[in-house]
């Protein structure tokens, strides 16, 4: 593959185990593969326990010490991150690979002003000195559309609203001009109107600075707003992947269909259909398809594990029904 078409971020066969209550180890992420093209926007969707956060933490090299990568590769511009030392990862974080976290209320240090917290990574990653630093801080705060950025420099995190703080953390995350930005549920802690504005900002920022964005969310609408490609995870596995258009307009996997059916649509003719049952626990050993116990269409064949199958560049699905053609889409 030439450098031009090499994806910015590629995850290949990632498998992560975590200790279970019984004392053994369960597989939290199983053979997950996907890629985000340079300058592309991909969304990783799934409910709690689907392994999406584990995957994003593994990419950052910030997995909790109890979790262990069993197999796979994580390639950043073709560079395997799993082979790097802690120290190499620390040097790389913030510069080539950065992250926006879920809760903006606690992501900023209460002891320091906004200005100094934004200045730190600018100084560290871009080597800006004192003279240029102040202007750069204002510039990066204006870039994330923080109103009256100049006046905010001397304010402390508690003086800012949630939306403003998420803008500040984004400015910090982007200070090193990363190749890849992972946003893990960046809007979950924000209220609805702020969410939309933040997502628009995120998309505009991505278009301006051209980093590859991996947006991790449980909310399909959030992903639909921003992403070109969608990866749906369930029970630690990728169950469907495709362009946003394909996945949202013609979902193929029963789980994706069910997810979309559970979204509130402001329309009297559509009824809200919940998905019955619970997402599988890491410790559960399920034969075959992980979604099969909750699936309305399950047949005997579903007790053997299906593979992720699809055309090149087209949508891929991990479902017997789709592959054997008996499941209506």
């Amino acid at each position: 593959m030439s450098a031009a078409e090499r994806p910015a971020l590629e995850v290949r066969g990632l498998t992560i185990s975590v200790p279970t209550r019984g004392g053994g180890r369960g597989i939290a992420v199983r053979d997950v593969s996907f890629s985000v093209p340079a300058g592309g926007r991909a969304g990783l969707v799934g409910e709690s326990g689907s392994g999406k956060t584990m995957t994003s933490l593994a990419i950052m090299g910030l997995l909790p010490s109890a979790a262990r990568v069993e197999a796979g590769e994580i390639l950043l511009d073709g560079d395997n991150l799993l082979a790097k030392s802690q120290r190499e990862m620390q040097r790389l974080r913030g510069k080539r690979l950065s992250m926006v976290m879920q809760d903006p209320m606690t992501a900023l240090d209460p002891c320091f002003t906004i200005g100094s917290q934004v200045a730190q990574p600018l100084h560290q990653h871009r080597g800006l000195s004192r003279g240029k630093l102040n202007a750069a801080v204002v510039e990066s705060l204006e870039q994330v559309r923080l109103s009256t950025a100049r006046d905010r420099l001397r304010q402390y995190p508690h003086q800012l609203s949630g939306g403003m703080r998420q803008r500040v953390t984004s400015a910090i995350a982007l200070a090193g001009q990363p190749r890849v930005l992972i946003a893990d549920e960046p809007t979950t802690a924000l209220d609805a109107t702020t969410q939309v504005r933040y997502l628009k900002l995120l998309r505009d920022l991505q278009e301006q600075t051209n980093f590859a964005l991996l947006l991790v969310a449980h909310d399909l609408m959030v992903v639909q707003h921003v992403c070109e490609r969608v990866i749906v995870m369930y029970g630690g596995e990728v169950v469907e992947e495709g362009t946003a258009e394909d996945v949202f307009n013609a979902p193929r996997h029963p789980y994706t269909q069910a997810l979309l059916g559970a979204i509130q649509v402001v329309d009297d003719t559509v009824t809200l259909t919940p998905i019955n049952g619970n997402a599988p626990d890491v410790a559960d050993v399920l034969p075959g398809c992980r979604f099969q116990p909750r699936c309305a269409h399950a047949r005997d064949v579903c007790l053997t594990p299906p593979a992720l199958v699809g055309e090149d560049d087209g949508p891929v699905t991990r479902c017997w029904g789709v592959q054997q053609g008996w499941l209506a889409t």
């Binding site: 950052m60 974080r93 606690t106 209460p110 320091f112 990574p121 990653h125 090193g176």
Partner: protein
Amino acid sequence: MTANLDTPPTDTADQPPVAKPLVRQRRWQKLRLGRDLSLLVLALFVFAAIFAPLLTPHDPVDNSLMDALKPPMWMAGGSWENILGTDSFGRDVLTRLLYGARVSLIVVVFSLLIAVVIGTSVGVLAGYAGGKTDAILMRLVDIMLALPSLLVALVAAVALGPSMRNLVLILGLLIWPNIARLIRGETMALKNHEFVAYAKAIGAPRWRILLKHVLPNVMPTLLVAATLEVANVILTEASLSFLGAGLPPPAPSWGVMIDDGRALIATGWWISMFAGLAIIVTVLAFNGFGDWLRDRYDPQTRDL
């Protein structure tokens, strides 16, 4: 209450709305009283310690047996020359009290410096590193805390010989485990805060996380802990000096003074009494100040 329904609202409108603010103000004033009294005593203590030579014409160790055992000025035989009387060596009690404050302050400052530096380093390191480092350091702290501190101090003081330097060292080394344990807990809580995870995610090196995110955030706790330990240091110093293992006798330490007056407690009560009072008042003031600080910086009410 039903009668009030008939009264026109204009009647009540004339009265200032006092009910709610009054309660709040009273609680606020109560808090300030404790702090102000403590601060006043602490200011006096530090002032006396620093300016002792300027406040009294007498020397704290020069003895003149001619002037021995003079009572305080308000008793028969007392004079303005020795306001709180003299001890059995003819040394002015007030002068020795003032210089005693200086001794206490020096011991407090230097032993706490040792305790804070060691305690904070160990606490932050153990709390942040966790695992084996934490286990080893904390067992060490447990061992230190299990030792009867006064007894250890006594043995160490006797073994090393009485001197200011040894006293400071012993007290500092005895007190750091208290601080280490507290700081470790605080660090562990901080470690799980998102801003620490976030600092990591944007590539902050470990030393910066410790120095810039953990240390400043444990400062309030450290400040409160150190203030409360001051009282501990003063008491232990006085106890050791009283037992003869602290500062050597001519030194004007409050503990030494109590010991000086021990044999004469029935007749020359003032020799021990005022030193004892000084200890009580100073310790109370430091505790009061520490309590107030703790209320102020309580993580429950601290504005994050």
